[in-house]
Amino acid sequence: MKVIQLYKSENQLIKKAIKEHRDAQRQLYTRYSPKMLGVCRRYIKDVHYAEEVMLTGFLKVFTNLSKFKFEGSFEGWIRRIMINESISFLRKEKQVLFTEEIMNYSEESWNNINVELEVNQIQELIDGLPVGYRTVFVLYAIEGYKHGEIAKTLGISESTSKTQLFKARKMLQQKLNLQNKSNHGTIKI
């Protein structure tokens, strides 16, 4: 019941926000901005830049709100805008470099990693990856994009996306191994 009410109230908020009601816009912003900043932060190391990107994303959200058709989830719609904004920021900064190397890799060893990590530690590990690896890894592993979608979004080939993911995983594994050595066996492989 509460969910339905929330859904209804959200739709009403969106409709008001389309009519440029500042209060409605503010409420939507307050509701989604913390999550969306988290999304932007996955791609962009610096939180200030991430916030800038998030604000630009929200500006686009409110100016193009009339294009939202109330079919899918509103959060998903905003998230997509945020991801695209983050990628275009990285492109502008010319930080994204993709190497075209096809490698054979197995997902078996990677998925068998049993590790207890805090969110901040995970973020640190991801931040340690080169931008190209990081972007593909976050898109694939966190956002749940397929290689085809990643290729389309980043303007690369599917094989490049696969290579980037493989390299990202390999690098993360190496980092986890290093942490394991320094922490004396908190990570089990």
Partner: protein, 275 residues
């Protein structure tokens, strides 16, 4: 404990993660929103002005075009295809299929007459010579085929003097009309001479005014007769006539003005002398 998939775990953890934006972040966004709104409004206004300007321009352009057309309609002389009108005249001989480069010479005319005369001969005898003649005519580039016997006679009669025909039959018809005109003018001149003689006999002399009046009358009569003779009305000639009349009245007006002015001056001079 079964090994958890590493990626799924980090995904869950990252999904739950929230980062609070800075305190003034909403203010910045609001300012940006206001700026964008103003920009959009300005853009919308510019578009409206642009459309209005285009619309106004179109209206002005159309009105100018319409005015131009109306001026052209009023001022431009109407072209009458007089050649067609003349051709339709039943009294005038019709020459069919006359090529533009055809030249009717006296020699060719005699050949045509020969063809006519030979037609009266029995077919068996005349067919060969006729063919020969026709071929010779064709060789000379004459393709004029005269539709009826009467028309042939008209072409070969004395009324139709040797005339180079170039282009179409219009020239021939015009020439015929000019011959009729010249006889008319000659007759009128004779009439005028008789009238002048009569006036001289009666009054002992003829003034220039009288001569000009007679000339004018004669001119009018000739024009009327011409119009009566021709079944078609030439719009250009009519227009010319009207223009002539207009210019004449203007001339008269000028003379009248000069005359009255001269009278006034003369009266003034006489009055001063008397005083």
């Amino acid at each position: 404990m079964a090994p958890l998939k590493f990626e799924e775990r980090i995904k869950e953890q990252l999904e739950e993660r929230v980062i609070e934006p800075s305190d003034n972040s909403w203010d910045r966004l609001e300012t940006a929103l206001t700026k964008t709104k103003h920009k959009q409004k300005r853009l919308k206004k510019n578009w409206q002005y642009g459309i209005a300007a285009i619309f106004a321009g179109l209206i002005i352009f159309t009105s100018i075009k319409i005015n131009e057309n109306s001026v052209v309609d009023k001022g431009a002389p109407k072209i009458v295809d007089s050649s067609r009108e003349v051709i339709e005249n039943k009294n005038v001989p019709v020459i069919e299929k006359l090529r533009s480069d055809t030249l009717l010479t006296p020699h060719s005319r005699t050949e045509l007459v020969e063809i006519e005369s030979k037609k009266s001969l029995p077919n068996s005898l005349s067919s060969f010579s006729q063919k020969e003649n026709i071929s010779s005519i064709k060789k000379k580039g004459i393709t004029a085929v005269i539709s009826t016997e009467e028309q042939k006679k008209t072409v070969t009669s004395n009324f139709y003097s040797p005339l180079p025909i170039k282009g179409d039959s219009l020239n021939a018809i015009a020439h015929e009309l000019s011959v009729v005109d010249s006889t008319l003018i000659e007759n009128k001149l004779k009439e005028m001479a008789a009238q002048i003689k009569e006036i001289e006999d009666k009054e002992g002399g003829v003034t220039e005014e009288e001569i000009s009046r007679l000339l004018l009358e004669a001119q009018r009569e000739i024009t009327t007769k011409k119009l009566m003779k021709s079944t078609t009305i030439d719009a250009t000639a009519l227009l010319q006539g009207v223009e002539d009349e207009l210019s004449e009245t203007f001339k008269q007006k000028v003379f009248e003005a000069l005359k009255s002015g001269f009278q006034k001056v003369r009266t003034a001079v006489v009055t001063r002398n008397n005083q």
